[in-house]
Symmetry: C2
Subunit: 397 residues, 2 copies
């Protein structure tokens, strides 16, 4: 893993694509600081700021740690600074002037940071640069898809491992610790990236039995009980039992690229009602995939899935109980667990080749169980290709 | 764990203390949304907004999930809403008017959220409410300290477990997975809370041997190599070896309350140079503790530690290599891993009874190893009391 480096061609093409969007939007320059965005556009996640003019070469300002940034990043101009206050002067030196409009990552930058930035950069207009970043990041290159496929290998093996390691009496949290340890042995990096300041990404979204049907604060069909009121989602201290439906939603990451997949497990036997629901979820999943091709809108995919769920008799349970249904069936995925676009009811994005999605048609049977599946695919020129390596199956161990 | 509930007396006194600070600051009301703050002031972390007027009863608006919020929170007025847009109307109904000034959590609220809030709340002035929240949270009640002591029990047992489980050939990441699984069996919740949008908190800050001396982007004496350029801190894929210094910085959490402690391990023998440095760190640690009492300023503690390090001959290595030294030796801790105040060179906070701190005098021997210790204590009326249960020792296994 130590020889991993983002190729210079990747970095160049990413910045070029961003610059075209900036020119179209009339944005003179962008200052990128969020760790994942910085890694995407430079190859390094060290403490620093990337200045991208709408035209011309970018400059990477590094506060800490310069030797590592130089080793990891193929950006030609990397400059050491002690404080952000030095940046405007450096920009004047190199570009001859400050930009009229400066794009910042408004979707993550806290108000107090922005207030400070405004004392440092005296520009006419500050614009929200985050939509342009998301639109650049949402089209993955073949190199990026290759990275995701490497992560999918780890994830696939980890689902296999679960079959042998799952055992009655293990708590949800403990079992998650076990399979996460296994995944780490294969290179899993542990930390799942969530962009939104209120969102949490974690490795233990295990929803077993009745507890697994509990609705909660997260934007998912079911949240789970969690470990306490302080972290009321995902797995908890409930032991896993025989003959109950167990949903395992596994996030893995290698070299920054995520996978997000769900499979159903049961020890002993899967109750009939749950088995039927699991199979129906797989049918919905497959029906959506059959309709994936460039030009199709995400809302169309959403609607196809809802129709299919109805026709299979799962209108009531699909996407959550009445009153708490979610309005999406999937989301972009890459350097963050959830990326743009979202496959949602009200969105009008059209599929393009290179978009990667996690597709998760799930059902909640209140006070009984959750059921569903989740796989990752990439949109190709003519349809789709699975990135997930784990079979679209139900595992009864 | 399922019967855990924040007592109503806690909630009442927290809100009262906040209201006094609001009155002093001339802030008419505050709207609290960040998950941890919301949990602190209400007892629930469900999706919602807490409206606190400078005087009178607060109102908790819940989007999702109402039954759980009602069960967890002792706030008397809990109201279900579908959208934030309903809040101003409800405030008019209850309080007769909108506030003139509204405090928000500027240190975490992204600019785009704030822009949206401004279309919803038409008030005269928006103020930064986060300093008042931090100052309320930094004084822990006896009940809160009891919670931290329960977490310390888990943490102490986990350090004991490490002695038996550590083994040559395990990678840093794998070993971390093992002890985290053990901790989860005792109730550890897995997710460590970091407030800053650029900060990451994780469970695998293992720095072994030479790799463990690597400086990096995080605000710590050493960052470690991490698993890749995408996550360049903490443990990595390096196997643990005999006869090398291994620093294990363990974060644990129970019912939202964190512990953050560091101990040094070695298999076989600890090299002399490292052993001496570890002992010196413990001496510095103890010297700082001897000087802890109400009224002492945090910068005084910082300076005492630097003098002590110099007198022991560790000027060069203390707090990081020259050019990369950090300017703090500890930090508040509670519902977040790092809270106010920070025990730093330039801060003028004075210690008060009920403040809880993680104290971490660490050293970096570049291209050799990291050494140090970290424990958690609470400031009492006359001095301090340790919350950490694990002995201030060096573990050679």
């Amino acid at each position: 893993m130590d020889d991993f480096k983002v190729p210079s061609g990747e970095i160049e093409s990413r910045i070029k694509r961003l610059q075209i969007k900036m020119q179209d939007a009339g944005m003179d320059a962008m200052l990128i600081v969020q760790r994942v965005d910085l890694f995407y556009f430079t190859g390094t996640a060290q403490n620093g700021y990337l200045y991208v003019p709408a035209q011309g070469d970018p400059r990477l300002f590094i506060r800490k740690y310069m030797p590592r940034a130089q080793k990891e990043s193929s950006i030609r101009e990397i400059l050491k600074i002690r404080s952000m206050r030095e940046i405007p002067g450096r920009i004047m030196d190199y570009y001859g002037r400050l930009p009229g409009s400066l794009g910042l990552e408004f979707d993550v930058l806290p108000v107090s940071d922005f207030n400070f930035y405004q004392t440092v950069f005296k520009v006419e207009r500050y614009l929200d640069g985050s939509p342009l970043i998301h639109e650049t990041r949402m089209i993955k290159s073949p190199w990026e898809i290759e990275q995701m496929e490497r992560t999918a290998m780890i994830s696939g093996k980890t689902f296999e491992y679960m079959k042998t390691a799952i055992s009655p009496g293990l708590t949800e949290m403990e079992f998650a610790g076990m399979f996460e340890t296994y995944a780490r042995r294969l290179g899993h990096g542990g930390y799942l990236r969530a962009r939104n300041f209120q969102a949490k990404a974690y490795n233990w979204h295990i929803l077993s039995g009745k507890n697994g049907s509990m609705v909660g604060f997260i934007d998912a069909p079911a949240s789970g009980v969690g470990t306490s009121a302080a972290f009321p989602c995902g797995g908890g201290n409930k032991p896993l039992n025989v003959d109950e439906p167990i949903m395992i939603d596994l996030g893995t990451v290698l070299n920054g690229y995520h996978m997000d997949e769900t499979r159903m497990y049961a020890m002993g036997r899967m109750p009939d009602r749950a088995m039927k629901a699991c199979r129906a979820s797989i049918e919905i999943h497959d029906t959506v995939l059959e309709n994936v091709k460039p030009g199709v809108s995400v809302s169309e995919l959403f609607n196809i899935s809802v129709s299919k769920a109805k026709s299979l008799g799962y209108k009531e349970q699909y996407l959550g109980p009445e009153g708490y249904k979610v309005s999406f069936i999937g989301h972009g995925i890459g350097l963050e667990l959830v990326e743009h676009p979202i496959i949602a009811r009200d969105r009008d994005y059209r599929l393009e080749p290179g978009m990667t999605f996690s597709l998760e048609p799930k059902m909640v049977f209140e006070n009984e169980f959750s059921a569903g599946i989740e796989s990752v695919f990439v949109v190709t020129e003519t349809g789709h290709r699975m990135i997930s390596k784990v079979p679209a199956d139900i595992f009864v161990c």
